[in-house]
């Protein structure tokens, strides 16, 4: 799941042109689940646009904004989309990018994408994966320090980890304290005794900008 949060709409609206006709697009997957891009939120933005005097021509929640086979299909569901000159997209950056690519229209993001995470028992789990293209999460008892430690440390905590709390804020627990807890439970402290070499960042960089056939 891609974790996103809504931008400050007040600030965003100030940057919009009154000459445009806006169509609001949501996403039925992650954004809907996180309640930042489902029908309720999309409608709310639509009516706020209307209240602010913008020309708002319609709204639609695409089933998966980052996976669109045919733009024509979407356009046929909502013919008023053709009257729009700009889209306001309530999806992650992937969704905005794909919509922009398939529609060829100007698309403004209404969300800020923050991480790859998950939802568990109604709690949002941030930063579960850093998409590093070099996964070794099994070494860390299923908790990725590269994603969850603000410094991405792979060889144990920094000196700022005190009583299980991260140095950047008392509300954040140190991911290494969680890893330690799991390591103790499984009576295997190898992750703290083995040296982990620097990460190979070339694995990630090699895929940037590539478009591959599935």
């Amino acid at each position: 799941m891609i974790i996103s949060r809504q931008k400050d709409l007040q600030v965003l609206f100030e940057g919009l042109s009154p000459d445009d006709s806006f169509f609001v697009i949501g996403c039925g997957k992650c954004a809907k689940k996180l309640r930042v891009g489902g029908q309720k939120e999309v409608e709310e933005v639509f009516w706020r646009l209307v209240d602010r005097g913008f020309r708002a021509v319609g709204w639609y929640v695409i089933s998966t904004a980052c996976s669109i086979n045919s733009w024509e299909e979407i356009a046929s569901e909502k013919p008023e989309i053709d009257d729009a000159t700009a889209f306001l997209v309530m999806a992650c950056g992937n969704g905005v990018s794909v919509i922009n690519r398939v529609s060829g229209m100007k698309a403004y993001p209404l969300l800020d994408t923050t991480s790859i995470g998950g939802v568990c028992d109604d709690y949002m789990l941030h930063e579960q994966c850093a998409a590093c293209a070099d996964c070794n999460i099994h070494l860390y008892h299923g908790i990725c320090p590269y994603a969850q430690c603000p410094k991405g440390l792979q060889n144990g905590p920094c000196g700022g980890s005190i009583d299980g709390v991260c140095e950047i804020g008392s509300e954040r627990s140190c991911v290494w304290a969680q890893i330690y807890e799991e390591a103790e439970k499984s009576e295997n402290l190898e992750v703290f005794t083995e040296f982990h070499p620097p990460k190979d960042h070339s694995k990630k960089v090699r895929r940037e900008g590539l478009i591959e056939k599935i």
Partner: protein, 289 residues
């Protein structure tokens, strides 16, 4: 005898810390360093400490060495990737720097330059290993260099005998080449002794951190800005009740040093603003003759 030789031969060392200027004016830096001439073995030069932007420690190291001081160059992983760290280390060696303190570095969110991208391409253990490579005449990819380094590398630790993770991390730092360890400030000497007992099997030289307290303002600074450092109430009371808090601070620091002399491999004095009392502390502790 230089710092490296003292570490190699297990001698008691005295180090201290100077902060690079927040600008190009090095007058105060040189004045502070001059207060330490003949008192200490080496001066630590911090690297954008607490993520507050200051002059490059390499530039400061050069200035201090020109003045005849030996330095321990702080090298953090916060601002430079493995390319930059290695090339800076090669440059440091050529400028005459012989001692490196390898650290991960405080997160930029704690600092003064909002929006900074943190780097952390390496962590402190990986940096220590890279230094070992440079010392063997190889880069991080194990390719031979045209001339290697011979650094004395060290690291830092919070001397908490009950923090199992930090103790394991210390062990790994030593196995990655940390031949000296400078600790966070020590106030509770009994706890420090307990820490030393737990790490005495490690082949490294442990230098106890001393952060003298000359006023209640210092107490407040430590409580607000340096999490994890607990000042015993007795120390706070002595400063509070003293008619001459600076004198009391000298006495307190000297008492701590005396208690640590037999257990630590040296002391690292790091007052918050000035070194005007550092010589007095060392004299009072019997570290200067």
């Amino acid at each position: 005898m230089d710092f490296k030789r003292k570490i190699e031969t297990g001698k008691l060392v005295v180090t201290t810390e100077v902060a690079p200027p927040r600008g190009t004016d090095t007058t105060l830096l040189i004045e502070e360093a001059d207060l330490l001439s003949g008192c200490v073995d080496a001066l630590n030069v911090s690297d954008n400490q607490r993520s507050i932007m200051r002059m490059s420690p390499l530039g400061v190291a050069h200035v201090l060495q020109e003045q005849g001081h030996e330095v321990i160059l702080h090298t953090t992983c916060r601002d430079r990737n493995r390319l930059a760290l290695q090339s800076d280390l090669l440059g440091a060696w050529n400028l005459g720097v012989r001692n490196i303190l390898a650290m991960t570095g405080d997160h930029p969110l704690l600092g003064d330059t909002m929006g900074t991208k943190p780097v952390y391409d390496l962590d402190s253990t990986q940096l220590l290993q890279a230094i070992q490579n440079l010392n063997r005449g190889h880069d991080i990819m194990n390719r031979r260099l045209d001339g290697g380094t011979g650094f004395m590398a060290g690291a830092v630790v919070r001397p908490d005998p009950n923090d199992k993770m930090q103790l394991l991390r210390l062990k790994r730092k030593v196995s990655c080449g940390a031949r000296f360890i400078q600790t966070q400030p020590v106030y509770n000497t009994e706890e420090f002794k307990e820490f030393i007992e737990k790490v005495s099997h490690l082949n490294t030289h442990i230098i106890a951190g001393i952060l003298p307290i000359f006023s209640l303002k210092t107490v407040k600074f430590i409580n607000d800005k340096l999490p994890g450092i607990i000042i015993p109430q007795e120390v706070v009371e002595r400063i509070k009740n003293s008619t001459d808090p600076a004198e009391e601070g000298i006495e307190l620091a000297a008492e701590t040093i005396k208690k640590l002399q037999d257990v630590a491999g040296g002391v690292h004095i790091m007052p918050i603003i000035t070194h005007q009392h550092t010589e007095a502390i060392l004299k009072r502790a019997g570290m200067l003759h």
